[in-house]
Subunit: 97 residues, 2 copies
C-alpha cells in the first residue's frame, strides 16, 4: 500500500524566492530519480503566502527511506530548512480504510 507524506513549511517572507528556487530543484530531482516516487510536488496555502507543503506519495516506506538518503535530499533539505521562520511538521499517512 502506498503512503502519503505532508511536510509543512512556514517560510520567512524575505526567503520565499530562495525557498522556491531550492524546492524546484528537489522536486525535479526526486521525480526524475527516486524509485518508488508516485508523486512529489510543492503546494502553497491559498490563504497564507508563507505556508507551503510538500505533498508526496510513495510506493512504500522503503522508497521514502531511500529518498531521505538521496544526495539531493541530503544537500537541499537543510538549505530549505534554513528558509523557515518557524517549525513546520511532517506526517506520514496510510489510507485509513
Amino acid at each position: 500500500m502506498s503512503i502519503k507524506v505532508v511536510a509543512n513549511d512556514y517560510i520567512a517572507a524575505d526567503k520565499v524566492e530562495t525557498y522556491l528556487a531550492l524546492a524546484k530543484q528537489i522536486v525535479a530531482k526526486t521525480n526524475a530519480n527516486d524509485k518508488g516516487c508516485i508523486s512529489y510536488q510543492l503546494y502553497s496555502d491559498i490563504n497564507d503566502p508563507v505556508h507551503f507543503a510538500m505533498i508526496e506519495e510513495w510506493e512504500d516506506q522503503e522508497s521514502l527511506d531511500a529518498h531521505m538518503k538521496s544526495p539531493h535530499f541530503v544537500e537541499l533539505i537543510p538549505q530549505l530548512g534554513a528558509c523557515s521562520a518557524k517549525e513546520g511538521g511532517i506526517a506520514i499517512y496510510k489510507k485509513a480504510f
Copy 2:
C-alpha cells in the same frame, strides 16, 4: 488548476471507531455524488493512532464550496467533529509551480 485540501483531525481514543464509521459514510457519499471531486480519502498517521487526515483533491474552489454545502457534509461533519479530542486544522493548497 485543481486544489488540494488536508484536513487534520485528532480523535478521542474511545471515539475512533465511531469516527471511522462516520468517515466511511462521507467518503463514499462525496466520491459518489460530488461534482468536481478528483479524490477524497481518509488517511491515518502511521505514527499516531488518533491522528487522521482527509486528503482531498478538487477540480476548483467552486466544487469544494459546493461539497461544503452538500447534505452529507452538513449532516456528518458536525458528528465527525464531536469525536475530536483537540482542534485539528484545515489547509487548502494549490501547486506552488
